[in-house]
């Protein structure tokens, strides 16, 4: 089963994303900030897609993307930013850091799953 790594500092958002993704046939690993995301990867989690928020404590989304791109196993893993930010400047910053795509909250489950399925079909 493909693994999706979900990073968000909101417990409700983590639960919500996990519910939607598990229902669509994905295995879900979670972290409450970018630092926890890097820890999961260091522990051996090999995500097929990473979904990350931008505004998180300790290590934010941009910082996480930069660090994840330095790690061999996630150098080319698709990273989708899911955030309340819709501004061009933030989007450019995320893209420059290595983000593959962008979804603005509130997104609908179908929008989210369409993007994830395009990058990694559930088995």
């Amino acid at each position: 089963m493909p693994v999706i790594l979900v990073l968000d500092d909101s417990a409700t958002m983590v639960m919500s994303l996990s519910h939607i993704l598990k229902g669509a046939g994905y295995e879900v690993e979670v972290g409450m900030n970018g630092r926890e995301g890097i820890t999961r990867i260091s522990e051996g989690v090999k995500p097929s897609v990473i979904l990350t928020d931008l505004n998180m404590p300790e290590l934010d989304g941009i910082g996480f993307i930069k660090e994840a791109r330095k790690i061999g196993s996630t150098k080319f893993t698709p990273i989708i930013v899911l955030t309340t930010e819709s501004g061009g400047r933030k989007r450019d910053e995320a893209r420059a850091a290595g983000a593959s795509g962008w979804l603005t909250k509130p997104a609908e489950p179908n929008q989210l799953l369409a993007v994830v399925k395009q990058l990694c079909p559930a088995k």
């Binding site: 409700t12 958002m13 919500s16 519910h19 931008l54 505004n55 309340t84 930010e85 489950p109």
Partner: protein, 149 residues
């Protein structure tokens, strides 16, 4: 500004920060979302049971067959709608919590009495706390309105 007035403003900011923090903490709706997700999981299970029953039932009661088929369609439809509702509401609630958090942080900083001489909490400092373009647009529109005349 007199020391007394300044101290009073810091006190008001500190109290407002606590009030908004309490409001933010009351925004937690995890129990409601959990119930919604459990409901959709139950509906999914029921839908599976009905479909399985349809495959293996072999009953030839046409009324029952029709109602079972209709129930499968309706259970799937309501499950999808509940999933969508829970997901979108969770995001909106999180957004509201983040906006409240931003106000708490601003008020807490304004409540600090001993800021270095010549410094204060500016509108630029406030803008740096924003988490969305909508907040920045609102900020700009207020600045334009207040500086027009």
């Amino acid at each position: 500004m007199s020391v007394t007035k300044e101290a009073n403003e810091h006190l008001v900011c500190a109290i407002l920060a606590e009030q908004v923090a309490a409001l933010r903490d009351r925004m937690d709706a995890s129990a409601a979302f959990d119930l919604l997700w459990r409901t959709t999981a139950l509906l999914s299970w029921l839908s599976g049971l009905l479909a399985e029953n349809q495959r293996h039932g072999g009953q030839s009661n046409p009324v029952f067959e029709r109602e079972r088929a209709e129930a499968i369609v309706q259970v799937a439809a309501i499950r999808t709608e509940l999933d969508e509702l829970a997901f979108v509401q969770a995001q909106r609630q999180d957004f509201a919590r983040q906006i409240a958090d931003c106000i708490v942080t601003a008020l807490e900083r304004m409540a600090v009495a001993e800021m270095p001489r010549g410094t204060s909490f500016s509108s630029g400092d406030l803008a740096a706390l924003y988490v969305s373009e909508d907040q920045r647009k609102l900020h700009d529109s207020v600045l334009r309105r207040l500086t027009r005349g």
